[in-house]
């Protein structure tokens, strides 16, 4: 992380063995087990495991990265590379109150630089440093997605975007230098009253008893049944006449294997199947091909007569409900080849 002295990072490393870290991480067992259930492969846990380390230690020591690698089933160097990639994992201990101020374009427009300068002066440190009493660290950060309340300020993990408590949002409110002074005062008092800070759940209080990703270690979730959803009916049925020839077309789901065309000549009271449309899979492509299919069927009726058509699609054994109805009157083709009636 920028602003962190390389030597400080090395000096800060804990003299703990991996066994000691495992011991300290015992209270996290339930959350780790839950996380391991949630992903197809354990490595999905890695980012969350690093958060747990930060929750326990207040930062991410290298020996903690080894623990995170263990529970995520990745190589230690992989976990190290990942921990170094993300800016929120702290490479060295920081103050009890981390004040992050956005230096993005919107917040600069709203005076972020002045606010940071004020903080630096009020606390007697440069951005990136920690006060001597170990209480405050100030960081310049990139966009915090609270531009409407710029300059955005985060105190530890909580947003300062309203005049009241943290996280209490007020549209259009902007923190001023005086607001920050007030908060610094308040946090100092809080630290006096409570020398040991409470741990903040870094994963935001996740559920601990989900059934997990089907097939993962420790998971009991059942996979979806193949046919949980109704079979897809044909959509956008159209019947168009070209003289006595009627072309019935529709849009079918890729999983449709067969569709039968039904005709009614009594305005939809009785229906008779008149044929099937081959909705074959594209040869050589396993499973349903990506896009939907647009099969069509040609029928003959007497010129001047009216018929209604609908399509009943089938997905293997399952029959979908009939499609919407398309009605057409077979119009005589005029000499100049003008189109006939349309549904």
């Amino acid at each position: 992380m920028s602003g962190c002295n390389a030597q400080a990072i090395i000096d800060a490393q804990l003299d703990l063995t991996i066994e000691q870290v495992r011991e300290r991480m015992q209270p996290y067992t339930a959350r780790v087990a839950e996380l391991q259930r949630r992903y197809a492969m354990k490595r999905g846990v890695l980012l969350q495991a690093l958060w747990l380390i930060q929750e326990e230690f207040g930062w991410v020591p290298r020996i903690g990265i080894k623990w995170a690698a263990e529970v995520s089933d990745v190589s230690p160097v992989h976990a190290y590379g990942v921990a170094e990639f993300y800016t929120m994992y702290r490479k060295a201990p920081m103050g009890r109150f981390l004040i992050q101020v956005c230096e993005g374009m919107c917040c600069q427009l709203k005076g972020a630089n002045d606010l940071i300068a004020h903080l630096e002066q009020a606390l007697g440190i440069h951005a990136g440093d920690t006060t001597e009493d170990g209480l405050f660290t100030v960081l310049r950060v990139q966009c915090l997605a609270a531009c409407g309340n710029g300059p955005s300020v985060l105190i530890n993990d909580e947003f300062l975007y309203g005049p009241g408590e943290l996280n209490e949002h007020q549209e259009g409110w902007s923190p001023s230098a005086a607001d920050l002074d007030r908060w610094i005062e308040r946090l100092r008092k809080e630290a006096e009253a409570k020398p040991q800070p409470d741990k903040v759940d870094s994963l935001g209080d996740i559920m601990l008893d989900t059934k997990g990703h089907p097939g993962s270690d420790g998971a009991s979730g059942a996979p979806l049944p193949k046919d949980y959803a109704p079979p897809p009916p044909a959509l956008k049925v159209k019947a168009e006449s070209q003289g006595s020839a009627i072309t019935v077309s529709c849009l079918c789901a890729p999983e449709i294997t067969e569709a039968s065309v039904e005709r009614s000549t009594d305005g939809g009271t009785t229906w008779a199947a008149i044929g099937t449309i081959d909705v074959v899979k594209t040869p050589g492509v396993p499973g349903p091909p990506g896009g939907p299919k647009t099969p069509s069927y040609t029928d003959e009726i007497a010129v001047g007569s009216t018929a209604a058509y609908r399509i009943v699609a089938r997905e293997a054994e399952r029959e979908a409900r009939p499609s919407a109805v398309a009605e057409v009157t077979a119009a005589a083709v005029s000499d100049d080849g003008e189109e006939g009636g349309k549904a």
Binding site: F85, Y86, E158
Partner: protein
């Protein structure tokens, strides 16, 4: 906010609208029942396509088309991943949504999940949003308790689990393949495409990544039908969109407006521009800046902004007035991209930082004649030469600012003590090694 236009924002002003109890009073989860379970997946996908809903994360890709490419029936797990890694400078709508109405997101996820054969879904929330993560987890717990999530939702045969995944600070994870890498426990670096994530995404399984706002539009569309959604917006940009407006504006905040609204009308809606308008960034820092004339003529939709060679992006609008120096607006933007480059592709990794350093010298009053052109040329060299569009976004910002506000940049050179410095290296050693 106009009263007629509350596809997404109906609960934003309702007290405790984030709780299941209040949300249900306002119609939440009405779709999770026969309205959804009696529909086939294909119908749902085609409905979304017909509604014309487009991805609200930035690229504006038609959601229905993306869904069509998901191989639902291959027997592999399909994942739905919600992109809540909101970090595009100027954008704060998704944070707002998760905070004010998490249940609309969950309801939308149930609909999308049902349509795409999803058993396991993730919400990838950027690490800085812990309060919003808490709120989501709270909402999820309420849903599990009410039988709206988990196995056999509301007695149906459909089961869905939703997990929140906390990011850890990397803008680039908003790019969908980087987000998938981050979800999988890798560095958040974009992947080469093809294969596209809808075919081979998280853990090599089909993965559909959608933005928070996109998914939140689904309950309304399912209830009211795709054609009703088209009552707003334009032919190719139908519907409504959330805009985050900040900068020199009377009432910054999140507004839901129909797409296609003239930009100036939107400014008026948001309390009017403070001072005299000089220009506006229309879609987050990645969107090329517009000058005043362009602002006056353009409407807020994908096509109109595209025609101006800018973009709607994430809907982050940042107008600025004539008291501002565009050079100083570009400064944090150029720095931002250099800071957020994932470090994978050469042009972005080395180029964004190099351009930033050259720019810093200009801003510091130490630029040489020709440095602005060089700055522009460096940006051109990392435009479209990388895996993902991060460097391209930086290039667009740089190129648009320099070309539209050139005189402001030249002022810095004119005032520079070193403007007449020769390009000594090149002159002394033509053909020399760098």
């Amino acid at each position: 906010m106009t009263a007629a236009c509350t596809v997404l924002s109906d609960l934003f002003a309702v007290e405790n609208g984030h709780t299941l109890e209040v949300a249900r009073k306002h119609g939440a989860y009405e779709t999770v029942g026969p309205m959804l379970f009696d529909k086939s997946q294909f119908e749902l996908i085609e409905w979304v396509l017909d509604s014309g809903l487009r991805g609200r994360g930035g690229a504006g890709f038609p959601t229905g088309l993306k869904w069509r490419t998901v191989p639902r029936k291959m027997g592999k797990p399909v994942y739905l991943v919600i992109n809540a890694d909101e970090g595009e400078p100027g954008t704060f709508k998704d944070r707002f949504c998760m905070e004010k109405d998490p249940h609309k997101l969950i309801e939308g996820m149930i609909i999308a999940g049902f349509a795409l054969n999803v058993r396991t879904a993730y919400i990838y929330v950027r690490g800085e949003m812990l309060p919003q993560i808490r709120r989501l987890n709270e909402a999820l717990k309420e849903c599990y308790a009410a039988g709206l999530l988990g196995e056999n939702i509301q007695g149906s045969r459909y089961s869905l689990d939703i997990y929140v995944h906390r990011g850890a600070g990397a803008y680039i994870c908003g790019e969908e393949t980087a987000l998938i890498n981050s979800l999988e426990g890798y560095k958040g670096q974009p992947r080469l495409k093809p294969p596209f994530p809808t075919v081979s995404g998280a853990f090599a399984n089909p993965t559909c990544v959608n933005n928070v706002e996109t998914i939140m539009a689904l309950p309304w569309i399912l209830k009211n039908g795709p054609q009703a959604y088209r009552q707003w917006g334009t032919e190719r940009s139908p519907g409504t969109k959330l805009f985050s407006i900040s900068g020199d504006i009377g009432k910054p905040g999140v507004y839901e407006i129909p797409l296609g609204m003239p930009m100036l009308e939107f400014f008026d809606l948001a309390g009017g521009v403070d001072g005299e308008l000089l220009g506006c960034i229309p879609g987050g820092s990645s969107a090329p800046v517009l000058n005043k004339e362009e602002c006056e003529t353009c409407t807020m939709d994908y096509e109109a902004l595209g025609a101006l060679k800018s973009m709607l992006g994430s809907g982050a609008v940042m107008p600025f007035n004539t008291t501002r120096d565009p050079v100083r607006i570009l400064e944090p933007i150029a720095h931002f991209y250099a800071h957020e480059s994932c470090g994978q592709c050469t042009p972005c990794r080395e180029g964004t930082g190099y351009a930033d350093r050259v720019f810093q010298r200009i801003v510091a009053g130490e630029g040489r004649a020709g440095d602005v052109d060089m700055f522009f040329d460096l940006a051109a060299n990392f435009e479209w030469t990388t895996i993902c569009p991060l460097a391209t976004a930086d290039a667009w910002a740089i190129k648009s600012f320099v070309s539209k506000f050139r005189e402001h940049f030249d002022k810095y050179i004119d005032a520079s003590s070193r403007k007449a410095d020769e390009r000594e290296l090149a002159d002394l050693r033509p053909g020399g090694f760098m």
